[in-house]
């Protein structure tokens, strides 16, 4: 059921490497593609996502004491990959690994419209 939403992200975004519905405990509920491409394996995206899940969890917690409001999206741009994280609900988020040459604007847009659809299924 999450698969179609993740597929919509992968198909809609040029340069998308892999995407996932993850819990803030760093455990993936569903990841696409099933067989990660070589680029994702080389970059060890899953290890990165566990770290970034931890950071997003802290950003979420920090936001409760800050006046800037709830955190909706975090983006971490490193040399070899852009990582977009989008809040789904209190417990889950969407994460997308994107090539630095990928379509970042489209990625943000597609993640924004997909998050509420995923939320309905949780």
């Amino acid at each position: 059921m999450f698969t179609e939403h993740l597929k919509a992200i992968m198909d809609g975004v040029d340069g998308a490497i892999a995407c996932s519905v993850m819990g803030f405990d760093g455990i993936s509920v569903e990841t696409l593609p099933k067989d990660l491409p070589e680029s994702a394996v080389e970059l060890d995206l899953q290890a990165a996502w566990v770290e970034f899940a931890n950071l997003m969890s802290q950003a979420k917690a920090a936001a409760e004491t800050l006046k800037t409001g709830k955190v909706a999206e975090v983006s971490i741009n490193s040399e070899k990959v852009i990582t977009l994280l989008r809040m789904v609900n209190q417990d889950y988020f969407l994460v997308l690994g994107l090539l630095p040459t990928g379509n970042y604007g489209k990625a943000r847009y597609v993640m924004r419209i997909t998050a509420p659809r995923v939320a309905k299924e949780l």
Copy 2:
């Protein structure tokens, strides 16, 4: 000397609220505007930046054990403000608070070209 670079960011980006050169210890080297606008005071941007400096510091440290490469940019988008953080060097970064309706693409561009100019002055 940092002022002109910060001014270039503020002038170049629609929706910019305030920007700063900060150390990873959370201490601001220089912030513009000198008299923070009411929006920045209401949102308590300085408190948010200290928290986000801490997160960026952790992202930088995590990157050393990850295969995704050095972190160049982090963006934390919350309900009331978009925060863009751009690495300057090992010790310092640029931070910009932007209205959610502000020009995010332009902000990323201006931060990217300004960071190396600030680095030369440090």
